[in-house]
């Protein structure tokens, strides 16, 4: 027999496999119209940002603004610092992305794990000299890479255009992009776990979006305890409060992470508790997904 043609260093092989799976996931995403639509929309948005509004900056303030280069936009006698104007635009972008952008990202990546576990495909992948943990982590990282590239295009593009047009570069806006990516990662990890458990794309998407949405509604319940007065004092109130508090601490803090993204854009100090309190959810979900996946028969 000839010398083996395959790798024999298992650690090096695992790293190669991880990159191969990430690359495959990106290629797979490229074939989806949703991602193509997202890229097209982003490109149109960046083009509009670069061409529609012409801004004249005089001594750090906006002197005049024109639409399509000719139609004057009324500024009035108010002096608008460039930094404020840019920050307002960036906060608007961040607000859009922490809602629609995140949900869209979860929709686009929702079927990646269930597709991996499709009968006939999982047999081929799992029969390679490939650890199942590497398989699931590679696919999950691939999904994160797809969203990261999309966000990088949107955030990097918007930041570049605004900096080019106004001369004001707000690094906080880029940090906001990373915070939104972190929020996605936390919600996506829940989606990975449910994907491995159910092998069902719609249920996975519901789980991911649900995780994000729960974070939005649990924060007010955690902050304003008055809502419990809707229940009779006693065990019912304790139970309701206990459930809300448990869910609040277990699930990712999507609303507080959103607030952090806005703070970062405005240049305000960040609150670190939402990051630290959301991370365990992501770690536990991925660990459980790997554990469950490695025990399953295919």
């Amino acid at each position: 027999m000839s010398e083996p043609v395959v790798a024999t260093d298992m650690r090096k092989l695992a790293a190669t496999q991880l990159f191969a799976l990430i690359g495959f996931t990106v290629r797979e995403a490229r074939n989806k119209w949703t991602l193509l639509a997202l890229f097209t929309l982003t490109t149109l948005f960046l083009f509009a940002l670069a061409t529609l509004v012409s801004i004249d900056v005089v001594e750090g303030s906006i002197a005049s603004a024109r639409l399509f280069g000719t139609i004057p936009l009324e500024i009035g006698n108010t002096t608008i610092p460039v930094s404020d104007a840019v920050t307002v635009i960036q906060v608007a972008i961040v607000s859009l992305l922490t809602t629609f952008g995140l949900v869209l990202a979860l929709f686009v990546t929702g079927n990646i794990v269930p597709l991996t576990l499709q009968t006939g495909w999982v047999d081929l992948l799992a029969s390679q000299p490939l650890g199942r943990t590497v398989l699931i982590i590679g696919r999950a990282l691939g999904a994160v890479a797809v969203v990261a590239v999309t966000f990088a295009y949107l955030f990097g593009g918007s930041w570049s255009v605004l900096t080019w047009k106004t001369g004001f570069g707000n690094a906080g806006f880029l940090v906001a992009g990373m915070i939104i990516l972190f929020t996605f990662l936390c919600c996506y990890s829940g989606m990975v776990l449910v994907g491995v458990l159910t092998r069902n794309s719609p249920i996975s998407i519901i789980a991911g979006v649900g995780t994000w949405f729960m974070g939005l509604i649990l924060y007010p319940l955690h902050t304003y305890a008055e809502w419990t007065t809707a229940f009779d004092p006693g065990w019912k109130r304790s139970l309701a409060s206990g459930i809300a508090e448990t869910l609040y601490w277990v699930l990712p803090k999507s609303l507080e992470l959103t607030e952090n993204a806005t703070r970062a854009t405005k240049g305000d100090a960040l609150a670190w508790t939402p990051f630290l309190a959301s991370m365990p959810f992501a770690i536990v979900c991925i660990a459980l997904a790997c554990w469950w996946f490695s025990r399953q028969d295919y």
């Binding site: 000839s2 009968t119 799992a126 390679q128 000299p129 490939l130």
Partner: protein, 344 residues
């Protein structure tokens, strides 16, 4: 050296409402390097489960299994293994070349090696011109060839083939068989999992018959097919009584079978060749003329059906998913082969 070894291998699947189904029940198996081994069994016998345990797709409930000297199921045991599953699905947006490139990367091949191996395996399965075609548009036969190319990509020492020619037209079968024979000549070990007896008969030199999760018979194909030599003796003349008396004198309680006019034909069960010659001597001594002597070999189909029937009679073997399903599919496959007759 054995490349595949199982000891008392068992698998029980948990069913709905706590029910349990035994797919494998204490399977002991050894396959040596360079062998063409066929695992036969009716649908649901546990063949695919056994292969999946060896490849780590299914966990064993009990017993041990090793593949190329490593514990079966570990990534390192699959380094030099090719697998062509019965059910497979390739993402339709990938081309044949891209599918193989992905699997080359998963095998840790560098770009140069990947290119070389992909060229080689595509040529081997006669698919070079399909390299840049999307898999989504492939026919079943093309997908089968691609699966074979993918299984051959690592230049494996062991090749697992689960129903390799299922659903393929006769020309395609011949072609796939040719590819497998070439690999066998290169020293690779073939493990063919099938209920298509004719295919296994043409390719394998050793078989095991798995019924209800247990190996009921195992050995070289030749020994399984002819456990007791049987001959067919054609005697000239129509005097059946004289012929019967002559055979009885030689200690044979021969059974008469339908014969053309002017001949009598008898089924003889003899222990060996010398016993056969004694019968022939006795026949000629009685003044009878011998028209023809034929050796009748039991076909693999007969051995297979007999094994299944024995398993059915085995009360202890009742139940489980590995239970013999005399399904329409199985029955059709079984009825294809014919009894083979060799002239002596």
């Amino acid at each position: 050296m054995n490349v595949i070894e199982t000891r008392d291998l068992a698998k029980t699947f948990g069913g709905a409402l706590g029910s349990k189904v035994e797919a494998l029940r204490g399977v002991d198996l050894q396959v040596g390097a360079g062998e063409a081994f066929g695992l036969l069994g009716p649908n649901g016998a546990g063949k695919t489960t056994l292969v999946k345990i060896l490849l780590g797709l299914v966990g064993a409930s009990d017993g041990d299994a090793t593949l190329l000297g490593h514990r079966a199921g570990t990534p390192i045991s699959r380094l030099e293994v090719g697998y062509m599953p019965e059910r497979r699905h390739y993402p339709g947006f990938l081309t044949a070349g891209q599918v193989l490139d992905l699997f080359g990367k998963l095998l840790g091949m560098d770009a140069t090696l990947r290119r070389q191996r992909i060229d080689l395996v595509l040529e081997e399965v006669e698919m070079s011109s399909w390299r840049n075609q999307k898999v989504g548009g492939f026919s079943k036969g093309m997908q089968q060839r691609l699966a074979l190319a993918q299984a051959l990509l690592p230049d494996p020492r062991v090749l697992f083939l689960d129903e390799p020619t299922e659903g393929i037209d006769p020309l395609g079968r011949v072609s796939i068989r040719g590819i497998l024979r070439r690999n066998l000549e290169q020293g690779k070990t073939l493990f063919v999992n099938s209920h298509m007896l004719g295919e296994v008969e043409l390719l394998c030199d050793r078989v095991a018959i798995l019924v209800k999760g247990k190996i009921r018979r195992e050995g070289p194909l030749s020994s399984l097919r002819a456990p007791n030599p049987e001959y067919r003796l054609t005697i000239a003349g129509s005097d059946e009584d004289a012929a019967r008396a002559a055979l009885a004198a030689a200690g044979q309680e021969a059974e008469s079978v339908p014969a053309p006019p002017g001949l009598t034909v008898w089924r003889l069960e003899v222990g060996d060749r010398s016993e056969l010659n004694n019968v022939l001597d006795a026949t000629r001594s009685a003044g009878l003329e011998i028209e023809e002597v034929q050796r009748v070999r039991a076909s693999l189909e007969e051995v297979f059906v007999q094994t299944i029937n024995e398993a059915d009679d085995d009360k202890a073997g009742a139940g489980g998913p590995g239970g013999v399903q005399t399904s329409a599919k199985g029955a059709t496959e079984v009825s294809v082969a014919t009894r083979e007759v060799d002239n002596v």
